[in-house]
Amino acid sequence: MSKHRLLALFSDFEEAHAAIADIRRNVVPGVTVDDVTMKSPIEHPDVEEVLGERPVHIQKFTLFGAIFGVTFGFLFLAGAQATFLVQPQGGKAVIPLPSNFVLMYEMLIFFAVWLTFFSFLFLSGLFKKRSALYSEKVSLDQVAIMLELNEAHTDPIKDLFQKHKVLEIREEVIK
């Protein structure tokens, strides 16, 4: 049995949400909400209510970046300052903690921000080749539901979408 990918375009969130709610209620047996991807021109309002909680792990990388920034910052600075032993210090500490705290604060933020950025790039599924079903209307004013399903389920799902005033359905065979 071949696997299909469907993209259904809706004019607003209400109808798209209602269609997903039906999928969630198992109106079409064999198709679950886990198979659903929602696309929209703005950040989804109430997306968790419709699709359920889906994990985001970026904050863990941010925390790692912050801790790395503080520790590496101190080690880098202390290492650099230790080489100053050959220079006259005028009785001052070789590794001055007050100024190092200021710099560690900056490095905490520096690494936290960069790790956040890189984790966003990797975890949010960017850099992928866009599907042939991609519709430019999603960046304009339409909401899309995309799902992968077996051939046997395509007709019931299309009927479901029609019930919720779908504007357009695009389909491709993926394997």
Binding site: S40, I42, T62, A80, M107, V113, T116, S139, M146
Partner: protein
């Protein structure tokens, strides 16, 4: 009698129109845009010529000498760093506070942050004189035994500003990704190629939006303490020195308030220009201008208060050098600049208290520029008088800056302006997806309010009916 609240934006505006208006703005600005570009190029030419003279003839042409080793270049550096703070204020703080009126204007404020920092970064290099040795400020291992002094606030500056520059560029870029995807989907030619690369394959699916929301929030949380630390560290360049007028405890908050103040004033200037250049009357609306002006007024009052605190501390502190310096600023050679600073920084903002003036674009344009003139004077009055009247009377003099120095400072405004104008021509200066969000959420809450009003309407009607019956 109740007055209907004016809306920040037309909530009935179609999403397709938002795309069309913003995309058209990048293709088809008014002719005044090109005139401004030409003016900026002319200003840069002046600076390049001045720098050429300074480079070939030496720093003597900038009048920089003992005791005036710092003057307009460092004042300009502080000014441009300060200007950069508004982007963070408007974007990060108002984002965390869920103030959605920021959405149509935060993009250009963030861009302003980045270009202000790039402009500020030029001044320490120009100030060095030997610009070819600029890499000496970096903490690299040197076989000549040169190491930066980590105890010096100047080394802290290098860390803080590079962190702020990279963080603010990332913040600007991440916030633009959904809009770059819109540009990619509707662009042609070189623009389409550019936006395809920069959009990073954004499709607007729920996974991307979920991660986007978290990333933007985390970045905003880090940018606020970063912005405060950057200008505190810049203030430490002065406050760590035991010089009259500089060794002041209130300098860090004073610098931060001044930075926010000049940044907000610059937002008003650019607001007026962009609204006109790109016909953004539907997005950069009068109510949003009013809110920005009120914010500027509030910050102006904080700045005024901190000024008074500083003067009072000096006056009652009875440190002879500090007190003499304050009196000299108010009555000596620098008095015209000092009093102009007080007038432009503390008195002129009261024009922002009048609704009719806040809604008059030409007035706001002129006032915002004058506010920033006042803020430039403030930075100049921090740097120059202290060096003119330090603890050694045999060094006392007055420093007005040379033509070369003024030429480079003048050109820096052209440099900033040109970078900004190129940015707003290549990238959307109004955030399309956020304006759509703003419209969507306001329509939705208006619908909910209508529902509540309808429910409430039935309630008094019943009561009235009951009352009439009882009569």
């Amino acid at each position: 009698m109740t007055m209907a609240t004016e809306k920040d934006i037309n909530e009935q505006i179609a999403w397709a129109k938002i795309n069309t208006d913003v995309l058209r703005s990048m293709e088809n600005p008014r002719p005044a845009y090109w005139v401004t570009v030409a003016v900026c190029v002319a200003m840069i030419s002046v600076a390049v010529f001045a720098e050429y003279i300074q480079y070939t003839e030496g720093m003597g042409y900038a009048n920089l000498n003992n005791p005036h080793m710092w003057d307009l270049y460092i004042a300009s550096f502080v000014f441009w760093i300060g200007m950069s703070h508004s982007g963070t204020l408007l974007s990060a703080i108002l984002h965390l506070m869920h103030s959605d009126w920021r959405k149509p204007i935060y993009r250009f404020a963030e861009a302003m942050t980045t270009f202000s920092l790039l402009t500020a970064g030029l001044f320490p290099i120009i100030h060095l004189g030997r610009v070819w040795n600029m890499y000496w400020v970096l903490p690299y291992v040197s076989d000549r035994g040169h190491w930066p002094n980590f105890r010096s606030p100047l080394a802290w500056d290098a860390f803080a500003i590079s962190t702020y520059l990279s963080a603010s560029m990332l913040f600007l870029f991440i916030g633009m990704i959904p809009d770059l995807a819109i540009c990619r989907d509707h662009g042609k030619g070189w623009r389409k190629k550019l936006y395809t690369v920069l959009a990073l394959g954004w499709e607007g699916n729920d996974r991307q939006w979920r991660h986007f929301r978290k990333t933007y929030l985390l970045m905003a949380c880090f940018l606020i303490p970063l912005a405060v630390s950057v200008h505190s560290i810049v203030s430490a360049d002065f406050a760590m020195a035991i010089m009259p007028g500089w060794h002041v405890t209130s300098f860090p908050p004073y610098f931060v308030a001044g930075a926010l103040y000049s940044g907000c004033a610059a937002i008003i200037t650019l607001f007026v220009l962009l609204r006109y250049f790109f016909r953004f009357e539907d997005y950069m609306t009068l109510p949003i201008m009013e809110k920005t002006a009120k914010l500027t007024f509030a910050i102006a009052m904080v700045w005024t208060y901190l000024n008074l605190v500083e003067f009072a501390s000096i006056w009652y502190g009875h440190n002879v050098y500090d007190k003499e310096l304050l009196i000299a600023k108010a009555t000596g050679a620098y008095a015209p600049i000092f009093w102009s600073m007080i007038f432009l920084g503390s008195v002129l903002p009261f024009t922002l208290a009048f609704r009719s003036l806040r809604r008059h674009m030409p007035t706001m344009f002129v006032v915002s520029i004058l506010l920033n003139v006042g803020m430039f004077f403030e930075r100049w009055m921090i740097v120059a008088p202290t060096l003119s009247l330090s603890q050694e009377p045999h060094q006392w003099d007055v420093m007005w800056g040379s033509v070369v120095e003024w030429g480079i400072v003048f050109g820096s405004f052209g440099w900033f302006g040109l970078l900004f104008l190129i940015f707003v021509k290549v990238f959307p200066s109004v955030s399309m997806y956020e304006v759509k969000e703003m419209v969507f959420h306001r329509q939705r809450s208006a619908g909910e309010e209508d529902l509540i009003r309808m429910t409430d309407h039935t309630q008094p009607a019943t009561e009235t009916a009951g009352g009439e019956e009882s009569k």
